[in-house]
Amino acid sequence: MNTAGRLEKMLAALLRYGSWSASAAIGLGYALALIGSHSPARNLAVLPNIRIARVGIVLFILLPILRVLLMFLFFVRERDFRFAFISGMVLAIILLGIFLGVPAT
C-alpha cells in the first residue's frame, strides 16, 4: 500500500497549507481593520480589509472541495476507476447543490 501513503501525504499537505493560508488571510484582514479603525479615514480603510478576510472564508469553503478533486485525480491516475467514480460523485453532489441551491434572483 505504498500508493495510499502518497495520497495521505498529499492530502495532509493540501489541508495544512490551505488552512494556514485561509486563517492568515482572515487574521490579516482583521488586524488591518483594527488598525484602520483608529485612523481618521475609518470607513475608507475598513472595507478593503474585510474583503481580505472574505477571501480567507472563500478559501476555507474551497479547501475541502479541492481535497475531493485531488482524490478524484489521484484515483484516475492510479486507474482505480471505482474510487474515481465515487469521488466524482461526491464532487457532483456538491456542485449540483451550488447550482440548484442558488435561487435565480
Binding site: 495532509a12 489541508l15 488552512s19 486563517s23 469521488s87 453532489i93 449540483l96 447543490g97 441551491g101
Partner: protein, 287 residues
C-alpha cells in the same frame, strides 16, 4: 461593525474551541448557542458563521491524523456520498423550517451530546477476524490497518455494515447543514457502533469527513449571501487558534472535571435554547 464586537466574537469562539479541543472534540456545538443567546445574532447568521469554523477545525486538524495513517480515506469518500446528500437536504430544510424549530432541534442535539459525554465511548467489540470474506466492504477494499502506538504494532480492522453507516451519515450531514455543526455526535456512534471501527480510526475519519460535509452546505449559504464576513471571520479565526490551544491543554487538565463542566454547559445552553422558543431569556448577554 465595531471592533469591540469582532474581538468578542473572536474571544468566545476561541474559548469554545479550546474547551472542545481539550476533550478531543470540536467546539462548533457551542458557537451557535453563544452567538444567539449572548450576541443576539440572528440564528441563520450564527449557523453560517459556525459552519465556516467547522470547516476550519476539520481542515486544520486533519494533517496529523493522515500522517499517522489513522484516517481511512477510502471509507471517508464512500460515506461522503451520504453526508453531502444529507447536507443538501439540510439546506433545503433550513429554508423551510420556522426558526423556533431550529432552536428546538438544536436544544435536542445539545442534550444528546451531554448524554453522550456522560456515557463515554467504549471500545467497540472488534469482531474483526479478517477471514470472513462475504462483506460489501471487502468488495470495495475498505478494510485497513493502522499503527497503534500503545500496542506498538499494526492493528488490522474490518469495516462492518457500510449500508447502515451510510444511513447514519445521511442524518449527520442533514443535521450538520441545518444547525451549522460538525455533528460528530451522530457520526461517532455510527462509526463506533454500526461499523465497529477502532476508536482512533473513527475519530480521525469523522474529522476528515466533516470538512467536506460542511463545505457542501457552506458553499450554498455563501452564494445566497448567508455568510456574513463580519461575524464568520472572527469566529473562524478564533476557532482555529482555540483548537490549537485546546489540543495543548489536553494533557494538563483533569479529564473528569472537564467532562462534567462540559455536560453542565451543554445542558444550560440546551435549556436556554428551548426557552427562547417560548420567549423566555434566563441568561442574558451583556452585549
Amino acid at each position: 461593525m465595531a471592533g469591540g464586537f469582532s474581538l468578542w466574537l473572536f474571544a468566545v469562539s476561541m474559548a469554545a474551541s479550546a474547551l472542545g479541543g481539550m476533550l478531543g472534540m470540536a467546539g462548533g456545538i457551542f458557537i451557535v448557542p453563544i452567538l444567539t443567546i449572548f450576541g443576539h445574532i440572528e440564528i441563520h447568521t450564527a449557523i453560517g458563521a459556525s459552519i465556516i469554523s467547522v470547516i476550519a477545525c476539520s481542515c486544520g486538524g486533519a494533517a496529523p491524523f493522515l500522517k499517522n495513517r489513522l484516517t481511512n480515506i477510502r471509507l471517508a469518500i464512500v460515506l461522503e456520498i451520504a453526508t453531502t446528500t444529507g447536507a443538501l437536504t439540510g439546506v433545503v430544510l433550513a429554508g423551510i423550517l420556522p426558526v423556533s424549530y431550529l432552536y428546538f432541534i438544536f436544544a435536542a442535539i445539545l442534550f444528546i451530546s451531554a448524554h453522550q459525554m456522560l456515557a463515554r465511548r467504549r471500545a467497540p467489540v472488534l469482531a474483526s477476524a479478517l477471514s470472513d470474506a462475504s462483506h460489501s466492504s471487502d468488495a470495495l477494499g475498505l478494510n485497513s490497518s493502522y499503527p497503534d502506538r500503545e500496542l506498538g504494532r499494526e492493528v488490522t480492522y474490518r469495516v462492518d455494515r457500510v449500508a447502515l453507516g451510510m444511513v447514519f451519515m445521511y442524518g449527520a450531514g442533514l443535521i450538520s447543514a441545518l444547525l451549522g455543526i460538525g455533528s460528530g455526535v451522530l457520526k461517532i456512534p455510527a462509526m463506533d457502533t454500526a461499523m465497529r471501527l477502532p476508536i482512533k480510526v473513527s475519530s480521525a475519519t469523522s474529522n476528515f469527513m466533516i470538512g467536506v460535509t460542511a463545505a457542501a452546505s457552506a458553499a450554498i449559504y455563501f452564494m445566497r449571501g448567508g455568510i456574513v464576513t463580519e461575524v464568520a471571520g472572527p469566529v473562524a479565526f478564533g476557532s482555529v487558534l482555540g483548537a490549537i490551544v485546546g489540543a495543548r491543554m489536553l494533557l494538563i487538565v483533569s479529564n473528569d472535571k472537564l467532562r462534567l463542566l462540559f455536560v453542565v454547559i451543554l445542558v444550560v445552553l440546551g435549556v436556554q435554547m428551548l426557552l427562547i422558543v417560548f420567549g423566555v431569556h434566563l441568561i442574558e448577554g451583556s452585549l
